[in-house]
């Protein structure tokens, strides 16, 4: 393995005083320059790390980081050569400092360093491309599509007819967007498929009858959609994803699904047809939501769950069939005790 070139290089340095300011600290006991952010294990003198998870206590104790953002409960474990910024929110402050150091990483940009529109893209004569749009080689933009100001379209992306994409958005290489209206500041990662037919069939003895899918997809502002995720268009109404919602990789969003604002949907979650999620819903990885269910605002579903009933707002559920998390863990505990007794009986 050759030595790896870092893909992201800080565009500036930051002083300890600036960090303190961002963290809401009144002063620093000494001032110095920070050149980069880094993990506890790899950070060197001059680099800033953060710590807020007890799993990394040993890494904190052994870090060579020049400085560390750390929550009060771990501050005693910071090595004496590492400068501590003690804050209740180390991760949040760290994110703000990264944004200053690496402004280019905020939104995925051209993988070809294209300026403007690549001559190797295929753009329909009727498409409308706003100012400052970047289009990489191999992209295909269909009839009457509209691409908003400063939006980036990656290589081999396909945009279907009449699709609208807002401004300051980013569509990763190889993504396909059809029958959709996409907002501003949206990030679509590579390999995403949006707007294909939903899975609608009337089962029939002689073979299944396809239900035509004549709805669309609406994706509001500031949504982020992970790599290779699939979002089907609606059958008659639209599939809808609300403002600020974040979907991880390989998520399935079926036809007619409505997802509210600011949800966090982890990788490999499947949301079946016509399910409705409120706002600020969080769903752990690989969980499935059955068709036609309603998940209330602020509900949290653990990963690896299978939800078969409506979940009231604000509740935490887990397991299959999913139930309130407390109940799930109590049942698990009961089963463990039962099995322990069963073993005892068998061992006699």
């Amino acid at each position: 393995m050759p030595g790896q070139i870092p893909f992201f290089v800080p565009k500036r340095t930051i002083t300890a005083s600036e960090v303190a300011g961002i963290a809401g600290l009144l002063f620093v006991t000494k001032d110095f320059l920070i050149s980069a952010g880094a993990a506890l294990e790899t950070a060197r003198r001059g680099e800033l790390s953060y710590m807020d998870n007890h799993k990394y206590l040993e890494a904190l104790r052994q870090t060579n980081a020049g400085a560390c953002l750390v929550s009060p409960r771990f501050s005693a474990s910071v090595p004496k050569e590492t400068y501590s910024f003690v804050t209740p929110q180390p991760y949040l402050i760290y994110s703000r400092i990264l944004a200053l150091l690496y402004p280019g990483a905020a939104i995925p940009g051209s993988l070809f360093e294209t300026v403007g529109i690549s001559p190797n893209a295929t753009i329909h004569a009727s498409a409308i491309i706003d100012c400052g749009v970047t289009i990489d080689p191999g992209a295909v933009i269909g009839p009457r599509a509209k691409i908003g100001e400063r939006t980036y379209i990656g290589s081999n992306v396909v945009i279907g007819p009449d699709v609208t994409i807002g401004s300051h958005s980013s569509v990763g290489a190889g993504a396909i967007i059809a029958h959709a209206t996409v907002g501003n500041h949206v990030i679509v990662h590579p390999g995403v498929s949006i707007g294909q037919d939903g899975f609608g069939f009337v089962p029939d003895k002689g073979g299944h009858i396809k239900i035509l899918q004549v709805g669309g997809v609406i994706i509001e502002d500031c949504v982020e959609i992970g790599a290779n995720t699939t979002i089907d268009r609606g059958s008659t109404r639209n599939t809808f994803i609300g403002e600020g919602t974040k979907l991880d990789n390989l998520v399935q969003v079926a036809h007619n699904v409505t997802i509210g604002r600011h949800c966090l949907i982890a990788a490999q979650v499947g949301i079946a047809g016509s399910a409705t999620l409120g706002s600020f819903v969080a769903i752990g990885g690989q969980t499935g939501i059955a068709p036609h269910l309603t998940i209330g605002d602020g509900a949290q579903i653990a990963g690896a769950s299978g939800v078969t009933r409506d979940v009231p707002a604000g509740e935490r559920w887990a397991g299959f069939p999913a139930r309130p998390s407390r109940r799930f863990f109590r049942q698990y505990k009961a089963m463990e005790m039962l099995a322990a007794g069963y073993r005892e009986t068998n061992d006699r």
Copy 2:
């Protein structure tokens, strides 16, 4: 969010008498024009909706639809300004009316509104392209591949050497098809990968030895394959998908799998190597089938299950390890009661 253009526009109107005829009703009490199909919540005067799920009873009561196909048990809840077509199969009749109104939605077509073969496609000199084929920009058709009459090949699709695709089929943007023979009236949605190496290794202490995968993939007529689904080619025999079978998005079909006719496989299902499914098998979302198993004709496996044993024909199974659904739910009930008792004991 700007107002969304509808992506599918009805190509004609339909009279109430025509709807009655399709539904097998003898007469209508008044005749009128229907201009579109729509969901209960969004349908307006002049539009037709349908209702067959008690979850939508409130939506039915409040609908502004001009007319509604409705099953007898819900017919009393149709608002008096909405005309009722009472039928035991509202969804099936609705699907037939959609097919009349939106003939263009029956099978996915060009996202570039290409007529014939795009000059920006790359087609090997030895490939055979039949009459009426549409090929979008960026598609790559390999040596000796055959594309049948009236088939559509999307942008950035890659078709490998010697692949045959029948007539009236549709291959969505970005799909990859290699080492496969594909029938007529097949729909492959965007981002699908067909025909890559199966996952075959002999585990070995010094590293795993790759088993060469020298079979192919056969996909029969009228199969539909969801977005970003993966179908590996066989190791020595072929991977096989029978006529009329429908796969949803993000499904994994491993090497040597045989799927019979008219199966319905929901999203994110994984079918491990050399498993054999009969015909008319239905599998719910996210379920896994272990290697070398046999699932009998007409078996139904609930979503989120993990099947570790053969499933006899016609049975309904659920859970992990999957077992007959009745047994699964009885066990779940028993565990709930046990946990309730356990809590009581603890609460004392």
Copy 3:
């Protein structure tokens, strides 16, 4: 369905004596030519099959194969017209013979039968392409990318800036590789997405704050990555996949994950952020690993499991929440007995 052309044709024949030599057998009772490898069910005279799984006992008894590699316990069931090569490792020996017969199947090559670099590929002027590289039509190679000797880049692949790919590797059609350093003899199957942003947000009442992802991805030699799998780049450290590790299709590898050497990760597994896997770990299909966990060397996790705690080296775990497999199955047994008793009580 027209008769299917075989996609892989043997490049030579092999004698029974050669097979015996590879299997470590001292002699053959007769010599003859073998023209191909085939499954027990389809093999004909002159073709070689193998048998090492009791599920195929009936297929063995009825095979028409000319010869069969068979483990001692099944050798009595080989039909008398089929020549037996008795060996403790039929599958391993079979794999070696396939490698002789079908040398072209060892590593995926051009789907366009391109020689050298297609004029329809888009290659940045600053990219470095070594000798013997094959690049198919529609591929896009970004600035300063390096492609090593004899590596294959498929159609519509996108390689980002500064990416390094070693020698003798293969990148399947439509794969996207950014912010990554990839070793030698690596196979990336179609539709893979490597190096996009990880799923990092600080949840916040007014919407979630994106954590910039400024790490990369390191993929060591001899790794194989299945179709449509996604590998996110690290947030500050790198995501890492060790030498010889094999990932199946539709796997999710989140940011900062470290996977050791020679792991086998089956389809649809999800490995959450910052998890660390040792070497020679095996994970069954659809299993999820929660964030920040450590899975020890040689651990084996059954399919359809959900791992929520560290797994010690060498252990076998199963279920959700995952626990040692013996405990999982004992608990399952206890629940079955409980439910049987519960039914009895209810039936009275």
